[in-house]
Symmetry: C2
Subunit: 302 residues, 2 copies
């Protein structure tokens, strides 16, 4: 199955206790595509400015990523600058320059319109629906969002959720969206609004998924070297949806495997600055890490 992703392609400047990276590849669509492309072909819809070094995305083309939907516009590329303290769980945003992203309206190349799996990255929920109107009959629509849209465009976001089967957000976002501090009750509320499954990312604490079939808790791999958490959530979404697209199976057991595969890809993403660790993985490295998760979480019956 072919995956369509809409999101940001950005230049990030990131400081962590372990170093600094300036004007490096970033953005939700970039991380998502880098991760998902290990599993299935990915087509990207995004916008960049004249200053964007498109040649740096060449490595993605070798993994069957279609960049025809990246619109290059007059002006500067979207930039994000942030830093992390020692706990690495939360970024402090120091600066956001929307630049060409401010006027972004996703236009899908004709060849994208038959795609089966759609990931609506964290952008204005109005734009998320603009994408959906251009896709003919997707079999699976997943989406991300953030506090900015939850607070700023709640009605539009609720409209988008009606068309989303799987919502992938973090725990603070889930609580804010449902206006409910208890995560189980928050999940139940959100599942009444459209999604049939909710995946909650919790950083170093793993991920939870909620669906009618029950709840699933995935651990995060305890890592000795975490350099840069930027993009981990999009790498997660890429592994999750890439795996689902490659296996063409959306049943509950396979959704659980997909959550683990998302966690696998997120665990790679944080091991280096930018998306460097996602450039050249082998599939056997990915399988090995899946087995590490299996060993990590395994326990016997009584």
């Amino acid at each position: 199955m072919q995956i369509l992703v809409v999101g940001s392609v950005a230049l990030d400047t990131v400081r962590t206790p372990f170093g600094e990276a300036r004007e490096v590849l970033g953005g939700s669509a970039t991380y998502f595509a880098s991760s998902a492309s290990y599993f299935a072909p990915v087509s990207v819809v995004a916008v960049v400015g004249e200053d964007f070094p498109l040649e740096e995305l060449e490595f993605l083309k070798r993994r069957d990523v279609d960049l025809a939907g990246i619109d290059r516009r007059p002006g500067r590329t979207f930039r994000w600058r942030g830093e992390y303290g020692f706990d690495l769980n939360e970024a402090r945003t120091l600066e956001t320059q929307l630049n060409v992203f401010a006027e972004f309206h996703p236009r899908l190349p004709e060849s994208y319109r038959e795609h089966d799996v759609v990931f609506l990255g964290n952008i204005d929920p109005d734009l998320q629906r603009e994408v959906l109107t251009q896709v003919r009959a997707p079999q699976l629509v997943a989406a991300d969002t953030m506090n900015f849209w939850i607070q700023g465009k709640p009605e539009s976001l609720r409209q988008t959720l009606k068309h989303v089967q799987i919502l992938i957000i973090n725990d603070a976002e889930a609580r804010m969206l449902a206006q409910e501090p208890n995560l189980v009750r928050a999940a139940k509320t959100i599942l009444r609004w459209g999604p049939r499954s909710l995946v909650i990312k919790r950083g170093e604490h793993g991920a939870l998924s909620f669906a009618d079939g029950g709840w699933f808790a995935a651990p995060a791999l305890p890592l000795e070297q975490v350099y840069d958490p930027t993009g981990a959530g999009d790498a997660f979404a890429g592994g999750f949806l890439g795996f689902l697209a490659s296996t063409r199976n959306f049943d509950e057991a396979n959704l659980r495997r997909a959550v683990i595969m998302g966690s696998v890809m997120a665990s790679f993403a944080v091991e280096a600055f930018s998306l460097d660790r996602l450039r050249h993985l082998s599939y056997s490295e990915i399988e090995d890490r899946y087995r590490q998760f299996k060993h990590l979480a395994h326990f016997e019956d009584l």
Copy 2:
């Protein structure tokens, strides 16, 4: 195997967003014994004041808990008053009255000295060692501690750790003890100081165990009703050690089951104020919840 626990027996006043409980049963030894006694006989060493309603511990005697080691002294019982906000992860201590606990020196009744499993609750590390000198040949020694001792008596704590096989603390304590923000590196440091296994409690995020044999991540059960997190850590330790004592098996696979059993008992503890939910559980309720954890954490190989 018989378990010996030393710790506090207290009267707690707790406020959470869901209500308030005044002067109710609390203390590390109380929660531990309430939990462990579902699995193995427990002997308690603690001190209370003249005002302590010892009859309220009668329910423990019916589950083979020996209270002969609870010393009743002139003066008032140890009291703790605290509150929790909506996130329930961290207590705000409003008042601590040590009272008779300030002069506590554990004296083991003769019948306690042959016990096989020892849990050193969160007390002065000097006192933890005083207990160990009074036990003849324990097969398993586990301990808890807290920031107050980590910062206030680091040398004494390091001495105690030499005699401890399993240290059971939370993630902030592990980081503080090892002076290392990365949890994996913190665990490796602590394992060089004596314990052969480190169990890290993470509240609603579950538990991690580190040992030479590898790492294990246990989820926490997502709960719709959490009333009072007080004592969850001691209920965890009680389920963990109670299960190990009842199965007489300390191998890695059984340690993993024990971590889950600890999580099971903690999940009950938080469902009511004080230790009310730990008063009258049936073993089939405990087994059912273990199976819920199994279902929660299960995923298939690729």
